[in-house]
């Protein structure tokens, strides 16, 4: 982890965390953990005839961040997110919600938690076909017993927020895919949750609509600052949206970090495979491309350390040779040369720095 971004994270408390979470499918899965064994080996699983959908998952989602879990189909990402909301009962491990183990919560506590603190958006929208847009968005409130006038007022506000005002009395089948997912989003936000799960929310949409919905999602997040767990199989989407990404393969998290960290230091060839096609300029910041400050160097102007190369490339290239990189307080911490920027733009960042 690059130190500066990590220290920024440490300022925010952890909202939701997984500690050594396992989900095994098959008969007698619990027995493997009964004697306190922490991690059954792959051979032990094969011998017992069990399939590990999630193995040894450790992650921490901080308040207000977008945490993306990325993996191809069958990697266990959907199972993991369902373990985090206890829609699926994990076989072993702990899921900590604000420090409390969710797996020890009673049925009633769990229901209360879901009613007030969690929201979820689904890949295929999961709208109730017999209810209107208004009825769908108001449904979580209805379940809680909120009075009709009140819940409809709040639902209308949410529908307005996602830009569907005027369509309150439509039925889901009368809406396009993108509109249906807007309803799904409005519905998941109606209870004003603290943790927001999105399970491949845009995967079922056309590419153009997907793009539009991603922008919409970022707009909402700037407004609402929720703690978000976002599932996707699309690495570009992950890069675009994430504060941090965890990459899953065969049930295990193989690397997690900021998009920049994944691109700069892929932990395995598998991760490198994903990052190869990613445009460096969009991901890398001035901080990771800069060189140590050279005393007395002639610098034309300065750029903030967190700015992406893509956004400052023109300025650096137009400069005489290098610009100063300054931290949040305006202190110079390095310099960024024209060559370094050109290399990144040309896709040659593998060059030893």
């Amino acid at each position: 982890m690059t130190s500066a971004s990590a220290s920024a994270d440490h300022e925010r408390p952890v909202k939701l965390a997984c500690r050594n979470v396992w989900k095994l499918f098959g008969a007698g899965a619990e027995r493997l953990f009964a004697d306190g064994a922490a991690a059954p080996s792959a051979e032990a699983l094969a011998r017992a005839g069990l399939i590990a959908a999630v193995r040894e998952a450790d992650l921490a989602v901080r308040e207000g961040e977008i945490f993306v879990i990325m993996g191809l189909s069958g990697s266990g990402k959907s199972t993991l997110v369902r373990c985090m909301s206890r829609l699926i009962e994990p076989t072993a491990g702990a899921v900590l919600f604000e420090g409390q183990d969710l797996l020890k919560a009673s049925e009633a506590e769990l229901i209360a938690l879901r009613r007030h603190k969690m929201g979820m958006v689904f890949q295929h929208f999961a709208l109730l076909p017999h209810l209107t847009v208004l009825g769908n968005v108001a449904f979580p409130l209805e379940i809680q017993g909120v009075r009709r006038a009140e819940r409809e007022r709040r639902a209308r506000a949410m529908i307005e927020l996602v830009g569907l005002g005027g369509r309150e009395s439509y039925y889901p089948r009368q809406l396009s895919g993108g509109q249906q997912q807007r309803v799904g989003i409005a519905r998941s936000l109606a209870v004003e949750p603290e943790v927001w799960f999105l399970d491949e929310p845009f995967s079922a949409l056309d590419p153009l609509i997907r793009r539009e919905m991603q922008d919409e999602f970022l707009r909402l997040q700037r407004l609402l600052r929720k703690t978000i767990v976002f599932i996707t199989h699309d690495f570009d989407e992950a890069i675009r949206l994430a504060d941090r990404i965890a990459i899953m393969k065969d049930g295990a998290i193989i690397q997690s970090g900021t998009p920049e960290e994944l691109v700069m230091q892929p932990a395995t060839d598998y991760v490198a495979e994903f990052t190869r096609e990613v445009s460096r300029a969009k991901v890398l910041s001035a901080r990771s491309a800069m060189e140590p400050p050279v005393p007395g160097a002639r610098l034309s102007g300065s750029v903030p350390a967190d700015a992406k190369i893509q956004d400052l490339a023109r300025r650096v290239i137009a400069s005489d040779g290098a610009v100063a990189v300054v931290d949040a307080d305006g202190r110079p911490i390095g310099q960024l040369t024209r060559d370094a920027v050109l290399d990144i733009l040309a896709g040659q960042s593998d060059r030893p720095a």
Partner: protein
Amino acid sequence: MSATAGIAGAQPARLQPWPVLWAVLLGATFLLFFSEGLHDALEGLAPWAFEYPRAWVIPLRDWVSGFMQWLINDFDLGLFTFKEFTRSISWLLTWPFAFANSLLAEGFIHGRGDKAVLLWPRLSWLAVIAIAVLMGFYAQGWRLALLVGACFAYLAVFGQWTSAMVTLSSIAIAVPFGVVGGLLLGIAGFRSARVERAMAPVLDLMQTVPIFAYLIPALYLFGFGPVASMIATIIYATPPMVRMTILALRQVPDEIVDFGRMAGCSRRQLLWKVRIPAARQSLMVGVNQVIMLSLNMVIIASMIGAGGLGYDVLTALRRLDIGAGLEAGIGIVVLAIALDRLSQAFAARPPEQQREDSAGLLRRHPYLAAGLAAAAVTWIGGLVLPALGSYPESLTLTTAPFWDGLVSWININFFDALEAIKTFLLLNLMIPVKRFLLTLPWPLVVGLVALAGYQLGGLRLAALTAALVLFLAVTRQWENAMETVYLCGVSALIASLIGWPIGIWAARKARVNAVVQPVIDTLQTLPAFVYLIPAVMLFRVGDFTAMIAVVAYAVVPAIRYTILGIQRVPPTLIEAATAQGCTRRQILWRVQLPLALPEILLGVNQTIMMALSMLVITALVGTRDLGQEVYIALTKADTGRGIVAGLCVAFIAITADRLIGAWSGRLKTRLGLA
């Protein structure tokens, strides 16, 4: 791996064991049939194989009868006796039925006989038609409204009104019981795998036991009359609702259930606010089935006192009064069509918008208001002008003379042709098959069925089918059963031979399909009883008449599944075949039919099931099979006899169903369709 595959591929000439075994066994069977010497010799050696020994019979019949007697006479549930229990059920059902019957058919009457005073007239025929039209309009639109209106108008104009309303009131009471009961049982089965496992064989049995067999215990426990018939109807109509509920609840997408849980639903909220509304459309299909099965049963239950249209047909058939029978039969048909289309339209109807404005009850429910208005206006009008209350008898039309004339015209002009067909089929197909089946020794049949079961589904299926077939022998129903198998087999064969070409034709020509589909849809909604009428008209009584009625009833699935199977062949395969230069005929024989085969087999299965259920009803025209046994038991209220014979029919059905189902499943796996 590849080495062994190569070796296996290199020995194509080696004989497959199964076909050889079957050839030998079937050859031996035919030898036994054609060589009387061998037959006699074998019979001398082992007479027990040909005539099931009396000493080995399990007296299930007496046990069942004894049990029923004990139930009625001695069974004490502690607080009350079983007899009191049945009485109270009877009492509970009498009231709603009496109400519906008064409302629709008789009017509210105080007192009996000469002293009877009409307190309140029944709903006017105009009001009922108006309500039906409103329902049609509400559910779908003008076309349905017109259709339903015309159906009910037919009942009024052709003098079937009162009978139809008696039938309708039975259905109106039976259906809610069937739907609610089925829903609750289905929910129980959905929630608990153990309950579902326990219910599955019972449901299988209930759906294969012939319709008459329901009547017997109902008659025995509840006596002759509308209540017994309604109980039989409810029990008969509930199983599909149970199945449909389990299926529908299971088909609710996981995501929707996940959403419900994430919204914080309690178990109860999850069921009633998420699962059931999301499954609404499939559940409505179940409701439609309950309605149609109720109609089917109510018609047949006229034998134990249901009255109504079924009773009219029954009495007309007994008098061989073809005209009157057909007229009442058409009454049943139009009622069936109206009920089916209405309930289907309600099922398909998208949920409606709730009106938020507080405009008052009537404004919020305009259809309800209009219906009530129609009832009120016609009632007041009826006080002034009686024709508004009940359809004037002087304006009643009758088609009976026309039908009578038509039938005698056919009989005069085509008697020889019809008789020739009948004789030809009897002599060349039906009687030989019957003789063949009756000469087979029962151990051989049990063995062959078990072998087929083993080949198609393994040891379990072999054991099940062998046990089911053995039941026919040990209850001493072997000969009756073979009569049933023969009639059912011949009918299913002929129905398939008629149904396949029609199905193929319709599947390949959209224009033909546009005609065939509505026809088979309508045929499928008609109560089984109706099919008897034309058969009796043309061929009087006997096995041949029964066969014709069974074929007419059972041909629909043969057509439907053939169409379905061919249409489900992926279009890309057809394109590929066309691109390779196949002619249309080659595409049919080499691509479509082989891939449609599993589906067509399922159609054969359905044809056999329907044939069996119809066969029992044809006992009315004098067959000599298990159906007759059930029918005789019904007339004598002999529960043991009826139930044992009914179980035999059910077991034949289940045996055929499991064998063909396993076969179709194997084919599907092999074709990669499963």
